[in-house]
């Protein structure tokens, strides 16, 4: 199968007055259509940099990034929700469509449907300040989905949330991604999250980052993230990846 996105020998150096920081030291990675691929790695190893380059926010220093075709649209959900406080929830969700000149009655209806489906229709005309952290993150996801992207980049979408909200929201996000048939790259610090949510997990090394290992997450009774956490395989993967991360305290 031809990958949706293939990354070869991708390097990134940041230039600074005191010198150069080598962030990515040659990433090789393929992403396939319909999968959720998690990226885990030590703090500061270059995960955000990778997503930034893939979505053209930063220039690469070397290597190759190839999308299956030119028309592939990216939806990037940042770590913070970045909802504009002066826009209502609905207006926030329509931002991408406005920017990309594709706001029509039809696309607007679709966004309203999304808001309804994910329990936010009551809040459509409210301002972000009246939402809880979990709701804000959900709005940010809908804003990302509104432009109907082919591939989603999620940069630690749950890290600002408390544990319980986090578990429930990751369940939601999983369902949303699968139901809408999206491909997703999920960057996370949380190994449990990565194993329970994704089809594959890529482990990055310390800076300058390379892909150290890729795991196909296979479980006999694979179902929703919450159920996956209870399986025997879950613990095995957890141990292996933990060892790969090679964290010394």
């Amino acid at each position: 199968m031809k990958p949706l996105l293939s990354i070869r020998k991708l390097k990134k150096n940041y230039q600074d007055l005191d010198g150069e920081v080598e962030a990515l030291g040659g990433i090789d990675l393929d992403v396939y259509e319909g999968e959720i691929l998690s990226i885990v790695g030590p703090s500061g190893c270059g995960k955000t940099s990778l997503l930034s380059i893939l979505s053209n926010l930063e220039n690469k220093s070397d290597g190759n990034v190839k999308f299956q075709n030119e028309t592939i649209k990216i939806g990037y959900m940042l770590q913070k929700d970045a909802l504009f406080p002066w826009r209502t929830i609905l207006e926030n969700c329509l931002l991408g469509l406005e920017i990309q000149h594709s706001l029509t009655e039809e696309s607007k209806k679709r966004v309203i449907e999304l808001l309804k489906t994910y329990g936010l229709s009551e809040f459509m005309d409210k301002y972000p300040s009246s939402l809880s952290g979990g709701m804000r993150q959900r709005v940010a996801l809908i804003r990302t989905l509104a432009i109907d992207p082919d591939i989603l980049f999620l940069d630690e979408p749950f890290s600002a949330l408390d544990y319980i909200t986090r578990i429930y929201l990751s369940e939601d996000v999983y369902n949303i991604i699968k139901k809408e048939g999206k491909t997703a790259i999920l960057v996370t610090h949380d190994l449990a999250e990565s194993i329970s949510l994704s089809d594959r997990v890529a482990v990055l090394s310390k800076r300058p980052a390379v892909v150290k290992k890729i795991y196909n997450i296979e479980m006999k009774n694979k179902s929703t993230p919450m159920e996956n956490r209870k399986t025997k395989e879950f613990n095995e993967y957890y141990d292996k990846i933990w060892r790969d991360l090679d964290v010394h305290l």
């Binding site: 990037y76 913070k80 970045a82 931002l95 920017i99 301002y127």
Partner: protein, 265 residues
């Protein structure tokens, strides 16, 4: 929300009472001040020739109305203020936009703006008259010198304070620079811009009065100038009081506009 609980009613009542208290106190302060002033001058505690008194101010006001075409002076001052206010606001916004658009330009001009803003403009008064002539243009120019730079600096610093994260978000959506400006920088700065307008209106008035003191043959600044030359303290104080009222009214108008367009979120 639909059923008004007693707690909510009490809350509203408290809010209203506080508001009334503020208004009553505001009124009392000016009222007591006027009464004390009047009494002090009537009883000779202060020299009423040098410090005037409310009743004298009223008399002067009425006679100015009858004999000296007061409204024309008021009109001229307000007219000059509005012109310089609009020019400074518009130009300030446009220049701040350019500085935001071309960051290098901002870096280059930063020290010049600071110096121009802090330069004591009165010192330039005689020069301005030589360059432009003793007419209304000089007055407006003087007012612009005073209000323009501070407007540029304030608006631009608001533009700069836009969260970097919001910009990143728009970039992930492939927004152009123009879209970032229109969708983020301007709406994100609505409150700041309104505040700049508020500052600008008083700056323009100050500038216009300064200009009138220097060159004019009309306007409240001229009346103040003339009054102090012929030692007519009543005239000076009446004009100053009128100025106070005018600046308050202008402030009210901007506040009304603010209420119209600033939503609370």
């Amino acid at each position: 929300m639909s059923t008004c609980s007693i707690e909510h009613k009490n809350f509203l009542k408290k809010r209203r009472n506080k508001k009334i208290l503020v208004h009553v106190m505001q009124f009392l302060i000016i009222f007591c001040f006027l009464v004390l002033w009047e009494i002090a001058s009537k009883t000779g505690m202060i020299n009423s020739f040098l410090s005037s008194s409310p009743s004298r101010v009223v008399r002067t006001f009425l006679s100015l109305l009858e004999q000296n075409n007061l409204w024309n002076h008021v009109y001229i001052t307000v007219y000059e203020t509005l012109i310089s206010f609009f020019i400074a606001s518009l130009l300030g916004f446009v220049i701040a936009t350019l500085l935001w658009w071309f960051k290098t330009l901002a870096k280059i001009f930063d020290p010049y703006l600071t110096v121009l803003n802090s330069l004591p403009k009165v010192a330039l008064g005689p020069l301005i008259i030589i360059w432009i002539g003793a007419n209304m243009n000089s007055i407006i120019f003087m007012a612009l010198m005073i209000s323009l730079f501070i407007t540029i600096i304030n608006i631009y610093s608001g533009f700069q304070q836009i969260d970097y994260y919001y910009t990143t978000l728009l970039k992930t959506l492939n927004a152009s620079k123009r879209q970032i400006f229109v969708k983020l920088v301007v709406p994100g700065n609505k409150n700041n811009i309104i505040n700049c307008l508020k500052v600008n209106i008083s700056m323009s008035l100050i500038g216009v009065i300064m200009g009138e003191l220097l060159v004019s043959k009309e306007g409240l600044g001229y009346l103040i100038m003339y009054g102090s030359q012929v030692f007519n303290i009543n005239l000076v104080i009446t004009s100053v009081v009128l100025l106070g009222i005018i600046s308050y009214l202008m402030y009210l108008i901007v506040s009304l506009i603010e209420k119209k367009i600033v939503k609370n979120y």
